[in-house]
Structures are given as C-alpha cells and as structure tokens.
C-alpha cells in the first residue's frame, strides 16, 4: 500500500524527496457528462508494443497503442526496479485498463473509447516530456477525445 505511514523509513524518505514541479495556474476544462465523453488513457508505465524501440533511461518520448492492440503485444520497459510488475504480468488492465474502458463503454458509463492511447516512462523529468505531451494533445483532439485518464505506475 502506498500510505506514507506504511512504508519503511528509507522508502518514505526517498519518495518525499522526489522533486515535483509546481505551477502558477490551475487550468480547468469543463465538459459534458462522463456518459457522453470519449476517453483516452495515457500511462507513464513505460509500455511499448513488442516491436517498438524499448524505453531506456531518460527517454522522454512516447509509444502509441490502438485500442485493439493485443495484450500479448504490450510489454513494459520502464527502467525503475522499485515497483511491482507481478500485477502487470498477470493482468494488463492493472496498469493499462483498456479492456475495462471498453466494458464501461458497453455499459453506457462513458461515451466511447478513443482509437489511440499512449505511454510515457514516468521516471523522466516532466519538463522533458512537456513538448511531447502538448504534441499528443493535438492527436487526441483529432481523435475527438474530450477526457483523458492518466495512470501512473
């Protein structure tokens, strides 16, 4: 569990010392009810298709997944050794819940599932990822996405 009080001292101290960016503004985009929204997932788990170039340390770029990409073709090349991979090994949806998103669409809980979803590798400095995140925003708009679910790892 990632409750600070449950962590060993060394791990709590490490996490609390991770530098975090701060911002001067609080951007906020309103929209229709969730049941009408088209949703995309962006993960920072260092996911790639098997044939993609793997993530290596300090990579700030991203990988793209069609919503129907076979789960057997999605692997993880995140460089960190300090998080669980056993959940991902058993069930892709623990990290990249695209099948759950499709079920929510079928249930009418969301409007639709975006055609394309994305992954960065979260150990990279956010400043380095920023231009590529803004680039992806254009692709998301072309895909008529109006809600993004961001999933860390």
């Amino acid at each position: 569990m990632v409750r600070m009080t449950d962590l060993p001292d060394y791990e709590r101290e490490y996490l609390l010392e991770v530098p975090c960016p701060t911002f001067d503004s609080d951007p906020w985009v309103a929209g229709p009810p969730v049941a009408e929204r088209r949703v995309a997932i962006i993960s920072t788990a260092g996911l790639q298709r098997r044939e993609d170039r793997p993530f290596v340390r300090d990579d700030a770029d991203y990988r793209v997944f069609h919503k129907d990409t076979d789960s057997a073709d999605i692997v993880m090349s995140h460089v960190s050794v300090n998080f669980d991979r056993t959940g991902f090994q058993q069930d892709l949806n623990v990290v990249f819940p695209v099948e759950r998103l499709k079920e929510l669409e079928a249930e009418g809980a969301i409007g639709s599932v975006a055609d394309y979803h994305y992954s960065f590798m979260g150990s990279t400095t956010p400043d380095d990822m920023e231009p590529l995140v803004r680039e992806i925003a254009g692709y998301l708009r072309e895909d008529c996405v109006d809600a993004v679910l961001l999933a860390p790892v």
Binding site: M1, P27, V75, V79, D84, T86, Q90, E103, L104
Partner: protein, 258 residues
C-alpha cells in the same frame, strides 16, 4: 504524472488521474486526481478483479463532472489481496525446488553454468504460465531467447564488454533489458501454479535471496560499478538492485506513536 494533467488541461483537454503518491499530487496540484491506497505498479488495483478495477475507474472518471478544482479525493477501499497461500497466511513457496545457489564467491563460469541449469528447471513452469495467459508474456524486451539472455548477462561477470546483440541500442541499455527479461521470466515461472500466485514482496525476496539468478546479479553489481562505460555504471547505481533489497539488512527505526 500530475504534471501531464496540467499540460493537457492547458491544451484544452479535460483530465482525471490516478494518484499513487499523495504528497506528490498535493504539491503538483493537477486538475483532478483520485488517490488510491494501492502498491506502486498497480494503479488500477489488483489483477483478475475486473469489477474492482472498474470501480476505481468510475471513481476517477466521476471527478470529470465536478464544477471546479483542483480536486484530490481518496478512494476508500484497499485492493483485493493476491490469491493463493500467502493470502491465507501459509507463506508462498516456489513450485520448483531450485537448490542452493553456488555462493557469492563462485567463479563466473560456475555461476553461468548454475544459472543455465536453473533456467532449464524453470522453463516448463514459464511455458505453463504463458499458456494459461493465452500466450501473453512480459519476457522479450531484449529480443533474445532466455538461454541467450542468461549467457549475455553472465558474460559481463568477468569485467569484459561482450559484443552488443542490439547495436541500435547502447550496450548498457541492452544489459538492463536483458536483466528485466531474466526477472520477468523467473517471476512468471514461479507464479505459474493456478491459485498459488505471490505478490511482489514475496517474489522479490525469493528472487534476490534464494535463486542463482539473484545471486549472479548481486555478484555482477560491483563489477559493473567499475565499468568504464558510464551507461553501464548508471545501471549499477540506479536500476539493478531494488531499494527494498539494498536496505534489507538495515533494522527499521522504531516508529513514533502519533
């Protein structure tokens, strides 16, 4: 992750996100976040629990209907425990009796041979697990077969630099991918028995302290820390031994009552 929400919202896209480390989210203040009390690596909860996973997602998506933010809410439930003996307090045991590793002072050749034997022992279980998941495996990052992965990693033990089997990627990064492949193979094999899956803590303890592969990587660590290749040294410094294992021998300081 929280910073990405900020950037996307500035670009006109509404975001909601999972937060795993609440203090980070409190500092960065993304537009909408749902903090979940789950283990790092499991943002949507637990494997094989689709209804629980959807409950987490509905809670995160519901934040999109708030009128103003930033919003940071707490998900109220813990994730379901992994199935298997550990959930019943019996302790997890690897299905394969691997035998004792050769020891930290073993010669590189002995370690390599012992690793090859260990991989051979685990292969039927890896195959079984892969078959049970419909062919899905997380092994294969380095683009080598498992025997080649073992041979490639152990070839660094004598301090030499072997030929790079993936010249388009730096040698140190190929070594990192091969090591991840080795761990993925071991973890998938050891978790192959239905109903007897173990979580991260148990498998890490087993891998790093009871297998030849874990012992070989402990022997490799000081060797690559002396490498003249900065990328290989960086792997040794930051991405080989988990913090949990580095700190394993250190007793915990008594926790102050709050």
């Amino acid at each position: 992750m929280s910073a990405l929400g900020h950037y996307l919202e500035e670009e006109g896209l509404a975001t909601t996100q999972i937060s795993l480390v609440r203090p980070h989210t409190e500092k960065i203040r993304p537009p909408r976040a749902l903090w979940v009390p789950f283990e790092l690596g499991r943002p949507i909860g637990a494997p094989g629990h689709p209804e629980f996973q959807k409950k987490v997602m509905r809670a995160a998506l519901a934040l999109l209907e708030r009128d103003a933010g930033p919003v940071l809410e707490d998900f109220p439930e813990d994730a379901p425990a992994d199935a298997g003996p550990s959930a019943e307090g019996e302790g997890w045991v690897c299905p394969v009796a691997l035998g004792a590793p050769p020891g930290l002072d073993a010669e590189p050749g002995s370690l390599a041979a012992a690793l090859a034997r260990e991989i051979h022992q685990l292969t039927p279980w890896y195959d079984l697990g892969r078959e049970a998941r419909g062919g899905r495996t997380t092994f294969g990052l380095a683009g080598l077969g498992i025997e080649a992965v073992g041979g490639f990693v152990t070839s660094f033990l004598d301090g030499e630099r072997p030929d790079n089997p993936r010249p388009e990627i730096e040698l140190g990064d190929v070594l990192k991918l091969a090591i991840e492949d080795l761990k993925n193979y071991y973890f998938e094999a050891s978790n192959a028995q239905p109903g007897k899956t173990a979580g991260n803590a148990e498998l890490q303890e087993w891998f790093w302290n009871e297998t030849t592969a874990g012992e070989m990587l402990r022997v490799l660590h000081p060797v690559i820390m002396e490498s003249d290749d900065s990328r290989i040294r960086l792997l040794g410094e930051k991405a080989l031994i988990p913090r949990r294992q580095k700190n394993r021998a250190k007793p915990e300081a008594p926790r102050k009552a709050s």
